[in-house]
Symmetry: C2
């Protein structure tokens, strides 16, 4: 297992090997070992789930921001439990996944006492995908609602200027002895990458995906690329993205809306992103046997729905990712050879 | 003010007069006065917001279910604070708005001590729209996330049988000294009524609104009416509706998915609907001055976005409803003459 298997342009590593490589690479820019282990845990979980755009792939960009002072490698993360079930955290501009994992742990510790607890986080950065946090919460028996604000990419309904982020929202419910159900979604109908692909192929896009720069629905992918991503359900998705920013950004006393600076445009500036972590101790609601039976029944009712296309059975959120996690824990995680080389290079540079 | 003003087929009543009429009408079927006042409070707030489909308009149907034993007029609502910030409520099949208001109050009382609290409710019925609860929470300085499950009307993504409800989700954040921002949305792109209207007019509908009974997107409103409402953003809205049911239904130990019985098809059967009420005491997060300044700034950034159509400025969720509330508190609430007559009739029948 210590020798990475190599298929064409993919290098396959075991979970442990990728965790160690990610940890070592993050230490190159002065991140303390314990923090590097935390961040590696979140990013490698993303890769285990197959969410490779939000996994160790992000380490080179994180390293760049650490190097130019955009992210603080040695933050003093301030955790205040302002009341029994309410925690406020200032991340001191540290790595997002380090702050995120601290926040999740603080919320779970409080909820162990009070049943329900919530952590509001300011002074943070991109914290990876939400699924790893929700998964770790589920592993310990906590249901969760987790969200973050983000750099602006969406125009308000009826507007023609980008004023809010594609703010991700995630929710998870544990299934003791089985796979949890976890939803992790952003508020746009599709990701920008899908529009870029249509432009490359010269194909029209559905009018529901994006607007042109005047805020009008368009089927032209090039007009869409100079316009705005459309939120799901029009004003409903706009409303959801906005509410996530109120809870994750404004109530956390973090930056919100246009106050959030762009990672891409100003990598040297602190973003002051905001997150929240709500956790519920399901053991206070019933036995693990009860929860397992109910979760199994719930899932069955959905996946046994007669399918429109018999080859495409109905699934529940997180099902594909959980299958991927089991498979990759057994067979290893494939990452592009170039990325592997960059990570090895970073790891070699640590002092 | 005691003499209702009459315009054509609309009767205009003051807020107080409509509250009294709704209270009296609910007492006709044996609802105790205090409970009738609670339910009237929620329903009349719906009418103040202009959400007339979920206001006093529902009283005749509530009365019918009370009469045939589908709803319990004199429930013993069981409220257990199982841990400092976690409350479990069994509504004993009482009126939804009565149970909902009890749950909101219990959650706010707990959160006054702990900062954050959550009530999980089982044994309930249709509890009206969410906006009134979120508004009452905002009035007392609480941000909230509130949701309910509902009778099945949506097919899972890729399925062709209705297995989950158009589960409403609401969120509110107070603005001390100004209007709160409140989102109250269901998970379908449009309400069924909009498709019915298109069918009456013989017009095609957008392919994003609904599917036919085989789960395929359709522009034919008649095919849509024998099919399923489409959730916003396809599998994203399916995922959101499902997560709401996990939190509001399953975790509350209420009915969920196809276990929820239909109000329309079986009005005599208890529905065992589930809700949850999460409240956050914003006073633990900062001063009212801070919150007012931040909320005003947040709103300004959005409503000052250059508009696609200059006659349609950008708005924030709940803005139209809050304007309606201020206007109707001054000038009265208009309800259809027929409905007024039915309510007066009911009120006259109370013992």
């Amino acid at each position: 297992v210590n020798q990475p298997r190599e298929h064409s342009s993919i290098v396959v590593l075991s979970e442990d090997d990728l965790l160690h490589l990610a940890r070592d690479a993050l230490q190159a820019e002065g991140v303390p070992e314990a923090d590097a282990i935390s961040a590696a845990r979140i990013l490698v979980l993303a890769d285990l789930f197959g969410v490779s755009t939000h996994g160790v792939d992000r380490i080179p960009a994180y390293s760049n921001r650490l190097r130019i002072g955009g992210i603080n490698a040695t933050p003093s993360i301030d955790i205040k439990r302002v009341s029994p079930s309410l925690i406020r955290i200032d991340g001191d501009n540290g790595l997002g996944p380090v702050i995120g994992l601290e926040a999740l742990r603080a919320a779970m510790d409080a909820a162990t006492e009070t049943g329900v607890a919530m952590a509001f986080v300011r002074g943070s950065n991109h914290f990876g995908p939400i699924m790893p946090y929700a998964y770790l919460a589920c592993e310990r028996g906590f249901a969760s609602v987790i969200a973050s604000n983000a750099t602006t990419t969406i125009a308000p309904s009826g507007g023609r200027e980008s004023r809010l982020g594609n703010n991700p929202l995630g929710m998870g419910v544990p299934n003791p002895g089985g796979d949890p159900i976890i939803l992790d979604m952003a508020m746009s109908v599709v990701a920008r990458a899908k529009i870029r692909l249509a432009a490359q192929k010269g194909e029209a896009i559905p009018a529901t995906w994006a607007t042109d720069r005047d805020g009008r629905a368009t089927t032209d992918p090039n007009a869409a690329l100079s316009g705005f991503l459309s939120p799901i359900g029009g004003y409903k998705g706009y409303g959801l993205a906005l509410m996530v920013d109120l809870f994750a950004g404004l109530l956390s006393d973090a930056a919100y809306l246009t106050h959030v600076s762009s990672w891409a445009d100003a990598p040297e500036a602190p973003q002051n992103l905001g997150h929240f972590f709500l956790v519920i101790d399901t053991k206070r609601l019933g036995s693990t046997e009860w929860l397992h039976a109910a979760m199994s029944d719930f899932r069955s009712i959905l996946v046994e729905t007669p399918a429109t296309d018999p080859d495409q059975p109905v699934r529940v959120p997180g099902e594909t990712e959980m299958k991927g996690l089991h498979e990759r824990k057994r067979n290893g995680i494939g990452i592009p050879r170039e990325l592997h080389a960059v990570l090895v290079d970073l790891a070699d540079r640590r002092s």
